[in-house]
Symmetry: C2
Subunit: 406 residues, 2 copies
């Protein structure tokens, strides 16, 4: 093979994917300390089982696949109508947002959708990305050649970064220059903070004035506890003309290992909607039928109640983490309307160094804030997805090392 | 939104995706003739249910998801080791090909993999594509900007087409100029013909001499009845240095609605293997755990025996279609080592016109050969995936219209 035929943009990627790297470090620590039971509050993966109503729906769907009369082969690439209707009714109608099933595209994961959506745009457009944020927005654009060169401060030349930190209360400012695409994530991964109605309105106005598109990742929307906060960007007037929304069952229904998500492209952006439809019909073949039946069951009265209780249990973990760290004197953000706690490290400690300190002294795994962007370098992310008893134990281990960690 | 920010390559796409178009035509016909029962031998979708051993494995996996102790969240993006090992042992070892699990990447479908793999290459490379062939290779490259302008003969400027037709017995010639990427499909969709060991050896030599990569789609490998034919390109000496292979459970185990496939990138192309790993870890989140357990069960002795019987039943359909058409005087190809029959239409009939004729006179749906490339314009594809009784009925309807159709 001649290496010149390869996509050279891959060489611009900063380093190996954050979570893979962490997995390796943890694995090495576990090998060296085989007696120690590590508590993982790092990767944002759920731990509670799928709720009974969804399990029942999946068993029934498996049985359907076992008989000629009910077997399902290829489904619609966009997802079965029963699921798209359930999503419109279950997620959007209660927030006063009317969507038709044609505007909803079911997929096997928000990671795929947010990574693939940039394909619909010219490779010369300028994009804005929050700092810190879920790394996939940036990495997928680096691979596509939109990022330019990596600078020594961790920023890429051609990316417009939108800083979010304690100083601006995590309320980003719209770009000060014209960009074509803006990624937003609210509730934010990793900071656990939520963009206010006012902030979102400013972004929608910016998009309208600049002919830009907002790619709004709301994978954690169902964790918002405060009903007055914006749950979907379509609650903002004018958003249907300029915003695409990504949602997922991963965190709302424990589907990280089941794989189901959806993307909304409103009819008000018909050219974009048709392009995404064409992209998905050409490069994707729909989601497993069993999974779609399971996802639809999330919106049944029983499924919804069971799912709410799972989320409530994670949010009790979040409160415990928040309060435990605060009791030790830490400054923390998030954890009220999101399953992430964003710990501001004392004395500007480097987050990667802190990862090692926490692992070695407490056998607790978190995620270095620096992995989400330069603005995260003095922060540390803990997740509320653990088992309650073990989350409590982690907080006890951390409190016991108060002198080192705070 | 400013339309200038969009990926303008989408405008170069010839027309709406072949199978979506056909679905619309059939739907209109059904509405107009509500009493007629259409027989679908068009889209390559299976109809027989998932075999019992796989169903059992999926039920057990659903139950695992219902309990904290056995619940699985995010799995490895590359697929669980148990499945990759089963694939290496079940698909490759019997053909004398040794693969390590690290060389196998599990995904939710070959359509995704063959459509996404081109991302690893420069957008300036020249590619070669068989004509006719599964449209995804071409369309995904048009979207990526590698195809150039569409000409009046149905060809794109920058694509090197490799003609396959009755005249060369469907044995393609390697390109006569340097290209970086070559798509091959064997058994071929749509022609149902298999590339000979000699032809594949010539392509591997070409790739070695030109530093090119072969993207080998073998989604129908398990339909090959003649044991002497090449089942995997790695049976050809030197192929591990230049060929990526795409395989699927869709047709081998009836997984079109279940979604599981895999791609092989050998260690001999370590840079490419690492790039694909990076691509998948960044833009994909692994396949449903339940599905992976189901796929692994295909390789159990019981699962393998049940699956073989399903394939045998489809191949009986293939023989029936072949022989029925031949008895009417038709010239047909394929159908011996693949579930597709490639019908050479009489008097150079246009394949799209023939689609309408067949639908209107027999209420039988096939696929116009022209949808797979200009070389297919006087051919027509029928699939062996139908119910046996209905396939027989379709052949009777066709025989009854002998005067019109032959």
């Amino acid at each position: 093979m001649k290496t010149g035929i390869l996509n050279s943009n891959y060489q611009l990627l900063a380093e190996s994917y954050l979570f893979s790297q962490i997995a390796e470090k943890v694995s090495r620590f576990q090998t060296a300390h085989s007696q120690t039971r590590i508590i993982r509050l790092g990767i944002g993966d759920v731990t509670r089982p799928i709720v009974p109503t969804v399990i029942d729906a999946m068993h029934r769907a498996v049985d359907e696949m076992a008989s000629s009369e009910t077997f399902r082969g290829y489904g619609p690439e966009q997802g079965y109508l029963f699921l798209r209707e359930a999503i419109a009714q279950g997620e959007y109608a209660p927030r006063g947002v009317e969507l038709s099933p044609d505007e909803i595209f079911v997929s096997d994961g928000s990671k795929c959708d947010v990574a693939n959506f940039q394909e619909l745009f010219s490779d010369r457009v300028r994009i804005a990305i929050p700092d810190p944020v879920y790394p996939v927005y940036l990495d997928s654009n680096v691979m596509a050649g939109r990022a330019g060169a990596l600078q020594s401060d961790g920023h890429y030349d051609n990316i417009v970064y939108l800083s979010a930190n304690a100083e601006n209360d995590f309320q980003l400012d719209p770009p000060h220059c014209p960009v074509a695409l803006i990624y937003l994530c609210s509730p934010n991964n990793p900071t656990g903070t939520v963009l206010s109605r006012e902030t979102l309105t400013r972004f929608v106005r910016y998009a309208q004035e600049n002919g830009a598109i907002i790619l709004f990742d709301a994978a954690y929307a169902n964790y918002i506890q405060d009903d007055a906060l914006v749950h979907t960007i379509y609650e903002i007037e004018g958003a249907k003309e300029c915003a695409v929304e990504f949602r997922s069952f991963s965190k709302s229904a424990g589907f990280t290992g089941v794989r189901c998500a959806f993307t909304v492209v409103p009819r008000q952006m018909e050219m974009l909607r048709k392009m995404w439809l064409r992209r998905q019909t050409t490069k994707f073949n729909g989601v497993n039928y069993i999974v779609q039946r399971g996802a639809a069951a999330v919106y049944s009265p029983e499924g919804a109640a069971e799912t709410r209780e799972v989320i409530a249990s994670y949010m009790r973990n979040a409160a415990l983490i928040r309060e435990s760290l605060q009791a030790c004197g830490a400054t923390v953000y998030g954890g009220k309307d999101a399953p992430y706690i964003w710990w501001k490290l004392p004395r500007e400690t480097d987050s990667f160094q802190f990862f090692d300190t926490l692992l070695e002294n407490c056998a607790v795994v978190g995620t270095p804030g620096g992995g989400f962007g330069p603005q995260g370098k003095h922060y540390f992310r803990l997740t509320a997805f653990g088992d309650p008893a073990r989350t409590k134990l982690a907080m006890e281990r951390i409190a016991a090392q108060k002198k080192i960690l705070f």
